[in-house]
C-alpha cells in the first residue's frame, strides 16, 4: 500500500507538465448577492418550497402551538427531539399528556436501531442557519441531535431563526468561519425532503429519507 502511494505520488510529481498555467479564480460571480433580510427570507422560502419543503413563518415565542397543530395535522404519535437545547427544553416544559409522546436520542444507535427505524414518526432539530440562494438548511449534528434524526423519521421539523438566513453557502463558510474552527464529524446542507427521479424521471418524495421537511421560521 505504501508502495502504491509512493508510486502514484512519484508519477504525479515527475509527470507534472512544467509550465502548468493556472488561471485566476475569480469568485465575484458567486459573491455579488446584496439581498436584504426580507429578500433572503423570501428566496429561501421560494426555493425550498419549489422542492416540496414547507415553511411556516411564526413569531419566535409562538412556535410551540404551531408545532402542536402541525403534529396533529400529520397524525404524529411521537416526536424525537434534543434533551439539552434550549428550545427543546422550553417545549418539554409546556408539554402535557394528551400530546404526542416525546422521545430523545439517549443511547447509541445500536441500542435502539429497530425502534428508531420503525417506530419514530417525526423528529425536531435545530440548525445553524439557512441559505437563500438554494433554499438550504445547515445542520451540524452532534451528540444531542445525532445525524440520523434528520434522516430516518418520516417527518423532519426544523427550527430556523430568520436572521440566520445567509445569501450563499460561500457566505456561510466565511461568516461562520468553518475552516478556522474546523469541521465537525458530519456537516450537512438539507434542501427539501428526500427525493428521486430514477423511475422515468418522475419525481417521488421520501425515497430513503423524510417524506416531509417542515421549517418553522422564527421571526
Amino acid at each position: 500500500m505504501n508502495q502504491a502511494r509512493a508510486a502514484i505520488l512519484q508519477r504525479l510529481r515527475q509527470g507534472r507538465p512544467a509550465d502548468f498555467a493556472v488561471p485566476e479564480s475569480d469568485f465575484t460571480v458567486v459573491r455579488q448577492r446584496n439581498w436584504s433580510l426580507e429578500e433572503r427570507i423570501e428566496r429561501f422560502q421560494q426555493k425550498i418550497e419549489s422542492v416540496q419543503g414547507q415553511v411556516h413563518r411564526v413569531a419566535e415565542d409562538h412556535w410551540i402551538p404551531v408545532l402542536i397543530r402541525l403534529l396533529a395535522e400529520h397524525q404524529i404519535n411521537n416526536l424525537l427531539l434534543s434533551e439539552n437545547k434550549a428550545p427543546a427544553q422550553a417545549l418539554r416544559e409546556q408539554w402535557h399528556e394528551d400530546l404526542p409522546s416525546l422521545l430523545s436520542y439517549q443511547q447509541p444507535l445500536e441500542a435502539w436501531k429497530e425502534t428508531l427505524f420503525n417506530q419514530v414518526d417525526a423528529a425536531l432539530t435545530s440548525c445553524r442557519g439557512g441559505i437563500a440562494e438554494t433554499g438550504s438548511l445547515i445542520l451540524w449534528p452532534d451528540a444531542d441531535e445525532p445525524r440520523l434524526m434528520s434522516l430516518v423519521p418520516p417527518v423532519h421539523f426544523v427550527l430556523l431563526q430568520a436572521k440566520q438566513i445567509y445569501a450563499t453557502f460561500d457566505e456561510v463558510l466565511r461568516e461562520q468561519a468553518w475552516v478556522e474552527q474546523g469541521l465537525p464529524t458530519n456537516a450537512l446542507l438539507i434542501s427539501g425532503p428526500s427525493k428521486t427521479a430514477d423511475i422515468e424521471q418522475t419525481l417521488a418524495y421520501g425515497v430513503h429519507g423524510p417524506k416531509a421537511l417542515i421549517v418553522l421560521l422564527l421571526e
Partner: protein, 483 residues
C-alpha cells in the same frame, strides 16, 4: 453479470442495435430533452460564463498541485481519524476494500452511488469473496436487479420506463405491478431500509475531497448516501485521485455548477460533508471511516498537458445529455463504464486504445459537449488528439496513450502519403486531376462503411484547371481587337 455487455470494440454493433430499438430511442430522447431544458432554466438567472471560468480555474488549480493536495488531504484525514489507502489499479482497490471487510468479518455491504466502484467492478469482486454487495441508490438498485450496468452516470436506469421497472420489481422482489411511481418507490424504500439496518459496511463514492479541511463531500437527493455513510459501523469511501480540491470555498461554485448541469436542480436535497468517524460522545455514525484513493490510469493522463484536461471532469453528465450521438444510442451501446463524450475521452486511458478504438471517432465533433461542460473541458479537441493517437498520426508529438497506433493501417498510410506527394507537386497534381476526370465513369458505387450513409462524390468531367484554361482562352479571343 458482466460489466461489458458487448465486446468493447463492437461499438458499431451496439450502436446499430440501439438505433433499431424504438423503445430505447424513445426513452433516451424524452429524458435528454427534459434534462436539457431543465439545465437551461436552472442557469437562466446566472452569469454562466464567469461561473464556468471559475469552475475550470478551481479544477485546474487543484490539478496543478495534485500530489501536494493528496498529501494534505491524507494528513488531515488521518489527523481526524480516517484511514487512507492508495491503490494503483482498480483491482488493488478492490482488494483493499475486501480486506477491510474481511478484517471486520463483514458479510454484507450496502452501497451508495459510486462510478469508480462501477469502473473497478467492485460488486463482482466482493461477491466472489462471499460478501453481498447491494446498491441502494434507486436507479442503481434497479440496474442491479436487472443484472445490467448503468446507462447514464447520473441516472443509471434512464433506459427503462415505468412499465419495465414495475415488471422487474415484480419478478425480483414480489412488488405488485403498478404504474404508480410513488408506490414503486415506497416498496423499494421498505426493502432497502431492512438492508441498511443490517449491513456491516457502507461503501460510497466522493464528489469532492477538500484537502484544506480533510472533508469528503457527497451530493445526492435520496438520502441513501447519508444512510450508507451513517448507519453501518464502517464507512469506506472510494474515489479517483483527481477528485481532490484545494479549499472549502471552492465548493460553492463547483456545487452550483454540478447540480444545475446534471439535472437542472439549484442544489440536491443533501450535501453531506464527512470529516471524521464517530467521536467518543456521539451516538451514531460509523466507528471506522476509510478513504481509498484510486489511480487506475489517472496519473498517466496527468503526464500530458493537453490530455490532463480530462481530469477536470466533475461527472455531471451534461455532455451526455447534450450529445447527438448519446441521445440516439443511449449509454449501453458504448459498452464502457462511462458513456457519452466523457466516456470517449476517458475510457481510452482506462482501458487502452485497443479496446476503445472506435470511441474517439464516434463523434460528429459538433462541439455541444464543450459548450455545456461546466469546467470547460475542450472535449472535441481531446477527441481529435485521441484519433491521432489511434493511428499515430502526429509526426511532431509522440503518441502516449496505451494502445496507440492500433488503427494504423498500411493502406490508409499509403493513401495519405500518395495524397501528400501529389499535393506537393503541381505537375503530379495536374496529371492526377486529369486522370480522375477521365476515369470518373469507373468510380465504385460503394466504398465500405463510408458510403453506407453517404453518397460518394463523383469527380467532375473537367478539372478546375481545365475550366480556367478554357475561360482564359475565351476571354483572350473576346478581347482581341477585331481586324
Amino acid at each position: 453479470m458482466s460489466l461489458q455487455t458487448i465486446p468493447l470494440h463492437s461499438f458499431d454493433a451496439g450502436a446499430q442495435a440501439a438505433l433499431n430499438n424504438p423503445q430505447v430511442r424513445r426513452n433516451f430522447r424524452q429524458a435528454m430533452d427534459g434534462l436539457m431544458s431543465k439545465r437551461a432554466a436552472a442557469f437562466a438567472d446566472w452569469e454562466l460564463e464567469p461561473l464556468r471560468e471559475l469552475g475550470a480555474a478551481i479544477r485546474l488549480r487543484a490539478l496543478a498541485r495534485l500530489p501536494e493536495l493528496l498529501e494534505q488531504l491524507e494528513a488531515n484525514l488521518q489527523k481526524q481519524g480516517v484511514q487512507v489507502h492508495w491503490a494503483q489499479t482498480g483491482e488493488e482497490a478492490c482488494q483493499i476494500i475486501r480486506d477491510i471487510c474481511q478484517a471486520r468479518g463483514a458479510k454484507s455491504v450496502i452501497k451508495g452511488k459510486s462510478m469508480v466502484s462501477e469502473e473497478m467492478e467492485l460488486n463482482h469482486f466482493l461477491e466472489a469473496a462471499g460478501i453481498e454487495a447491494l446498491e441502494s441508490d434507486l436507479g442503481e438498485y434497479i440496474v442491479q436487479l436487472a443484472e445490467e450496468t448503468p446507462s447514464h452516470i447520473i441516472m443509471p436506469a434512464i433506459h427503462k420506463n415505468t412499465d419495465e421497472i414495475s415488471q422487474l420489481l415484480h419478478e425480483k422482489t414480489g412488488t405488485e405491478p403498478s404504474h404508480d411511481v410513488d408506490y414503486l418507490t415506497a416498496s423499494a424504500r421498505q426493502q432497502l431500509r431492512e438492508k441498511f439496518m443490517t449491513a456491516d459496511v457502507g461503501i460510497s463514492g466522493v464528489n469532492f475531497a477538500v484537502a484544506e479541511t480533510g472533508t469528503l463531500c457527497l451530493v445526492e437527493n435520496e438520502g441513501n448516501g447519508r444512510l450508507t455513510t451513517s448507519v453501518p459501523a464502517c464507512h469506506i469511501a472510494v474515489t479517483g485521485i483527481e477528485k481532490v480540491i484545494e479549499k472549502l470555498e471552492d465548493v460553492t461554485p463547483l456545487l452550483a455548477l454540478l447540480t444545475r448541469s446534471a439535472t437542472g436542480q439549484h442544489i440536491t436535497t443533501y450535501f453531506n460533508m464527512v470529516s471524521a468517524p464517530r467521536q467518543a460522545d456521539e451516538k451514531d455514525g460509523p466507528e471506522a471511516v476509510h478513504l481509498v484513493l484510486v489511480d487506475s490510469g489517472r496519473s498517466a493522463i496527468y503526464q500530458d498537458e493537453a490530455l490532463l484536461d480530462t481530469l477536470r471532469c466533475i461527472r455531471c453528465g451534461a455532455c451526455m445529455n447534450h450529445c447527438p450521438v448519446y441521445t440516439r444510442i443511449g449509454g449501453h451501446a458504448y459498452g464502457t463504464t462511462y458513456p457519452g463524450p466523457i466516456g470517449k475521452i476517458l475510457m481510452p486511458h482506462l482501458l487502452g486504445l485497443e479496446a476503445t478504438q472506435d470511441l474517439p471517432s464516434a463523434s460528429t465533433l459538433c462541439g455541444a459537449c464543450a459548450e455545456v461542460c461546466p469546467v470547460k473541458i475542450p472535449i472535441p479537441r481531446l477527441l481529435q488528439r485521441l484519433r491521432k493517437e489511434a493511428v499515430d498520426g502526429d509526426s511532431l508529438r509522440p503518441s502516449r496513450v496505451r494502445g496507440h497506433g492500433v488503427k494504423r493501417h498500411w493502406r490508409e498510410r499509403l493513401i495519405w502519403s500518395v495524397w501528400r506527394q501529389i499535393h506537393a507537386r503541381p505537375r503530379a497534381y495536374r496529371w492526377a486531376g486529369n486522370l480522375l476526370t477521365r476515369l470518373r465513369g469507373l468510380m465504385p458505387k460503394q466504398l465500405g462503411g463510408w458510403t453506407r450513409v453517404r453518397t460518394l462524390p463523383k469527380p467532375a468531367a473537367r478539372t478546375l484547371h481545365q475550366l480556367m484554361q478554357t475561360r482564359d482562352a475565351q476571354t483572350k479571343t473576346a478581347q482581341e481587337p477585331r481586324a
